[in-house]
């Protein structure tokens, strides 16, 4: 019985945290960026208002769009929610960790990306095609870098299961300052920037269609479809931050099932994600967007850092 309660409570909490806090993280990034530009900026809860507004708005569909265009928002939203069940946020292990490991997470993201790229092509507009082609060519270089960064952590922790990685690290906090761990952190951070379409790889705030990557694919979306995609993007960024936060700084995460532990876990988690959000905003503010053909060089840095991390692990040992 308690097994069932544990599963239900932690899973629901898990979903709620990701669903409800993801827009806040985006809000914090935007607010920080605004302050760095000497602007007052919109309130940190503005993304919630935006989503509410979009859900109320009418949907306009391009006449050329097929079912792919209409299904994609739900597929993206659904796959991101599924990931939310697998990535530990406030407690570990997550009840459904046996469903899939970190490789499942990576490929669930790939499913979402695949469909968004298809939907971009589906509208038949020049910008959609442009965005899809850029997204897919970047994806093919982001993926190896991401795999290597993640495997480095998996090797150091001895498992690809996210919950087990986080649990082990939280019991041996000293291993956090292991050099290979720190290098892998930087590698994964770069990958996060690239994967979630932030500066210097992509500019989520631009109005220039010709420069867009992710935004170009979703230009034709409106109303609740756009809300789903926007929300899913925010959750994707949030989940990536959760991954980094708990894989590299698992401090405070709830390892037992009690109210106090969960409350501490939630508090610690919010602090960690806020710090990461501010870090993302700092990176975005101090850099310009890279030339499209320079992005592989950046990802090569992530790749090499992860590789070094792996080598260091075998040389120094745990």
């Amino acid at each position: 019985m308690s097994e069932f309660v544990y599963t239900a409570v932690v899973s629901i909490l898990q979903l709620l945290v990701v669903l409800l806090l993801a827009p806040l993280a985006t809000g914090i990034i935007r607010k920080t960026k605004a302050r760095l530009q000497n602007r007052r900026g919109a309130s940190v809860v503005q993304p919630y208002y935006d989503l509410t507004k979009l859900f109320k708005k009418e949907v306009v569909l391009p006449s050329t769009a097929s079912w792919i265009f209409r299904f994609t928002p739900y597929i993206v939203f659904g796959s991101t929610l599924a990931i939310a069940l697998l990535v530990p946020t406030i407690a570990t292990p997550v009840p459904f960790h046996w469903i899939g490991d970190i490789i499942t997470v990576i490929y669930l993201f790939a499913v979402g990306r695949f469909f968004v790229a298809l939907a971009g092509l589906d509208t038949g507009t020049a910008f959609g095609g442009l965005g899809s082609s850029r997204e897919m060519s970047l994806a093919s270089i982001i993926e190896p870098a991401m795999m290597l960064a993640v495997f480095t952590v998996a090797v150091t922790a001895g498992s690809t299961d996210l919950s087990i990685i986080v649990s082990r690290l939280s019991f041996t906090p000293v291993s956090i300052i292991h050099p290979s761990h720190l290098l892998a952190f930087v590698g994964l951070f770069i990958v996060t920037i690239a994967e979630t379409g932030r500066i210097p790889v992509d500019n989520p705030a631009t109005h220039l269609e010709l420069t867009m990557i992710h935004e170009a694919m979703i230009l034709e979306y409106s109303g609740r479809y756009l809300a789903c995609i926007e929300w899913a993007s925010q959750m994707k960024l949030f989940v990536f931050m959760a991954l980094i936060a708990n894989m590299f700084m698992p401090l405070g995460i709830a390892t037992s099932f009690s109210f106090v532990a969960l409350a501490i876990g939630l508090g610690a988690f919010i602090v960690k994600v806020s710090i990461l959000a501010i870090l993302v905003a700092l990176v975005e503010s101090s850099n310009a967007k890279l030339r499209l053909f320079r992005v592989p060089e950046l990802l090569m840095v992530a790749f090499v850092l992860s590789l070094l991390a792996l080598i260091l692990y075998f040389i120094i040992g745990s």
């Binding site: 602007r39 442009l130 220039l208 101090s286």
Partner: protein, 528 residues
Amino acid sequence: MKKQEYIHLLRNALGEILTEELSAAPNELYLALKPKALSKLPDVCSLLTKSLRGQFVTIIANDEQSIRGLFSLYYIFSLPADDLFIILRVSVDAQHREVPSISSSIEAADWFEREMKDWFGIIAFPNIRKLAVHPDWPEEVYPMAKEFNPRQTIPRVKGTFDFRHVEGEGVFEIPVGPVHAGIIEPGHFRFSVAGEPIINLDAQLFYTHKGTEKIAEGLTPQRALWLAERISGDSTFAHALAFCHAIERICAREISARALVLRTTLLELERLYNHVSDIGSIFLDVGFSVGAAMAFQLKERFMQLNEMLTGSRLLRGMAAIGGLRRYPNKSQWNALHAELATGRVEFNSFIDLAMSASTAIDRLETTGVLSHKDAYRLGIVGIAGRASGIARDFRQDHPHCSYPHLQFKVAQHEEGDVLARMNVRIDEVRESFNILEQLHRQYDHGSIAATSEYREASGHALGYVEGWRGEIVHWIMLDEHGKIYRWKITDPSFHNWRALKVAVLNNIVPDFPVINKSFNLSYSGNDR
């Protein structure tokens, strides 16, 4: 060289085919080409540009059927060495409106010839591709001919844009506009790309054609000035001043020293806020939002300064024939220079910070290169020309306003990339601060009245200023009642749009917006 020497030189080279005509302004030399020597037109023009180092400025077509029973074309060349304009007048028969094309030797004339075909029906074969009217405009309806009534509605015909199609494996077209994201004027672009690199760019402009030149005909200069301020919002004062210059030259009107200083001040203030704004926009387009935000803050300060001084952020309602509409009082004048001193410090620290952002500078270097050769070939003017090593600045070549009494350096860079165009702006902003400081000392709180009264006059003359984007040249002909008979506006954008097409070649599509912004051409000034 004096005017007579030029005439002598041309006659020696070409024979007796040119006759001198009357000119209202001392630095304009009008030469009429004899009708039977029409076929020599390209030779005369290449002699002027190649041997005499003249620079092509503009072509003015004029329906003079009511004056001399024919059309006239005025080919204007600038001779910076002698502060002289040589204006070649060619008569065109009203029934057979054909002249030899000069754009095979002077490529800069290409768009001007196409425009005169679209608006006057004067054909410079083979340069007949539509430019200034859209494809749905019927053939043989020429909106600038005198018989055309601007109030009528013209039924449109079917037509499609005549784009140059590029074919081949993996080549596809990206249509952009005419409505763009953001606050940008309308224009339709058609990119042909092979993957990301751009292999051809075609543009359809003239969406913001307002018929300014046509509707001004028959107005008094005082009323047309109101239109001049609205040719291109970012160059409000420069255009209005170029207009005033032309009228003042026709009427031989002297301007008080105090008005000259203030006019120069306003020109430099216009340059200041536009350059700072462009620097910000360039940073914004490469995603360097902190740099952009800093520049836009500065721009806002300069615009508020404009408002403090003149009551208008865009310097509207200041220009007047014979002087200025209003004069700032002593406290406003001193406040201006106190503000400019702090603005200068802030600008320098902003540039220091922005130039240390290596990822931003990396995006600007080697992007959108306009080689010196291409810039020279296309007759590129203003900041775009100066960034490609063309030292062409009317402030120096044809000194007007207070510029003859000022010390300044013409900014020049050789690389021709986006960074060079930004560096020209940075140098010019710094130079503007110097100029404004000198003007502060020269300002004389004495008389503001023009030294001569306004009197109605007829005739024609050029009016020009170096606006922030480049040279702005107006040519005005007043009829016997002192009303406008013909007003030709040449905005630097009309010269420079073709540079954009060349500069984007082999660049990748996502770099187009920043290349475009580095030129920042005016659609409104181009389309008029």
